[in-house]
């Protein structure tokens, strides 16, 4: 079933992109990657992924700005945003709580938990 589900991984760390890509491909997802926020924004716009996994601290365009820029797209086609971050302050936690279809996972994260979150989201939406 997940074969046609696109998942975009945005992280400036190649190792993290690599491991998540492998994990999600093993589960049958179609995986896209971007090395910074700007690249990620263009990919979201072009590919309309079902799930976006993004770091917060990134060059060119940080995760928060990226989410704010892409949030209007969710009205057309909702998608899950998973924010992965090493440290989250109360303001950021509050901000994420108010964002539509957005969750966060603290680093170091478990790839299994990410997969669980994605599957739960897709199940809830019957996709």
């Amino acid at each position: 079933m997940p074969k046609n589900k696109k998942i975009l991984i945005i992280d400036d760390e190649a190792c993290i992109r690599r491991v998540l890509e492998l994990k999600l491909k093993n589960r049958g997802y179609q995986v896209l990657t971007a090395a910074n926020g700007e690249e990620g924004f263009l990919t979201i716009k072009d590919q309309q992924p079902h799930v976006v996994i993004s770091d917060l601290m990134m060059p060119k365009l940080d995760g928060k700005t990226l989410c704010e820029k892409t949030n209007p797209f969710k009205i057309k086609r909702p998608f899950l945003t998973i924010i992965v971050t090493a440290r989250i302050n109360p303001e950021e936690r509050d901000w994420i709580a108010h964002m539509q279809d957005t969750i966060f996972m603290e680093k170091p994260f478990s790839p299994n938990k990410i997969v669980d979150a994605i599957e739960k989201y897709l199940e809830d939406r019957n996709e």
């Binding site: 190649a14 491991v19 492998l22 090395a35 060059p59 170091p108 994260f109 478990s110 790839p111």
Partner: protein, 609 residues
Amino acid sequence: MKSKTIGIAFFVLILLGLGIFLQILIQTEKRAAVENLFSKGDHIVGLLSLNSIKDFEGARRDLLTKTLMQSDIHQGIAYCFVHDQTGKPLVSLAINSIATEIPYNIQVNSLAAMGLVHQFFKPIESTTGIYEFSKPIFEKGEKTGTVRVGFKLPPISILSTERIALIGVITFFIISAIIMSYYGFVKAFKPLESFLSNVLNNPNSSGAQLKNSSRSFGIEPMMQDCKNSIKELKNRLEKVEMKNKDLTCKLGIIRFEKNQASHILNSINLGIIVTDLHENVGFINDHMLNLLKKKRSDIIDSPLAQVITDKNFLALISRQQGFENPTGSHCFDITFPNLAPDKTYQVSHTYLTDDSKSLIGKLIIFNNTTREKEAAQAINDFTAHVTHELMTPLTTIKSYSEMLMDGEITDAATQKEFYNIINTETDRLSRLIKDLLNLSQIEMGSLTLNSGRVKSDWLFEDCIETVAGAARKKNISILRRLPDNFPTLIGDKELLKGAIINILGNAIKYTPENGQVVFELSEDESMVVFDISDNGYGISKEELPFIFDKFYRSSNSNITSQQGTGLGLAITSQIVSLHGGEINVESKPEKGTHFTVKIPKKEDYLAEK
């Protein structure tokens, strides 16, 4: 005795008054008589001059003369002359010998005049003067004669029956007024006298010393009482003046203290506003005025809402909690975007009470906390960076090991790749921790230099040896440029090596394959100079000022694709400055970068120490 004198004085005053009154009366009568005379004279002369000169000749002259004699002589006419144009008198009427007493110049003036003339003269044997009125007779535009009429000033009589009666009435009223005033005065002062005698009979009274004075009522005791009263008033005035001086002194002290307090409040590096209960500004210090860029006179007594218009500020200042807990104070942050856009102020707001704990106003203090905020922000940013940098390799290690443990990686090559990544990330983590510790020790000043003699050629070769492997992998050649004599320097060999390796390692890391790195050692008068240049990706002009900042990494994708902690150059620059050296950089994108590190030579270093 005194009353007699006063009586005489009154009498003299009355006489004087009467004299002045009579004098004024005479003057008024005189003025009225003269005015009457002028009017009459003008009238008669005017009437006579209307006649033709022929009317004064022959039989007609006799008729006129007769008329004049009958009707006007008793009205005070002294003489009447009518002259023809040659000056020859045609009519000549005069009482007694007065015609001979008219001065010649009066006659000449009258005959020569072409209009109405008034002249006055005094005959030699007469007590009253004579006014002469003359007017020429004109016929068909030509002067045909002159009429001259002399009038005696009528005697002034002030003692007519009516006047005597009037004077009598006035005198009666004056005398009656004096007598009535005297008795009225006596009656009016009676209560005062009885009051004074009561006061004098009272042994506690200040006027007790006057006990022996005469009790009989009259002007003298009254004057004495007045004197005593004046004395009493003087005493009181002296006491009031003393109190006034005392109050003036106290006022001076209060003013001085107020000025001192104002000076203190103005020299404090805090903005201060004091308002009354209605939130009108009662005091504002210089610091706050500078911040608001306003004049004190424009602000004092103005509502606070007009002085600071920020809505959040006004809402927070007017919070009702303040009245429930009037002794408490409240703090909040505020910015003034138009006046001081880069600054943050912490506002503390306290209710002021008087001795009876009644609210009298508010004290609002503005403390510039921009630096504290910036420092807190810097710490926050640093912590965020450190956490991010530490968590990233940890995430890699955790996720890769999880994948391996779950048996998701089945082929041997990928498994090996994963183990290598875990190993590399562990090294990265360890290097990062070491860098952080070094940086922290340097910044805290707790790093001790293991200083010793360092031969520059050893340092040079050691550095090259460390990076040679990485250079070989990318087929990058390292060109050595060495001097004939190698200088010696004093320092911590390991730290200096670490610093130079950071630069040399970056040169290799950020130069594409088959590139070239030049490493040159030289010396100038006081320094040993290490020049490291490459033909790599270079650094843009915008990014160059930040490369020594902690965790700063270029956004160039050629650089971000390489692993790095963002701490290497920050540590290098700290180590160089610990050794008293300097570090400079020049770079052009896509052309390459040139770092120069200068460390003081042995002699200089020792001399400085």
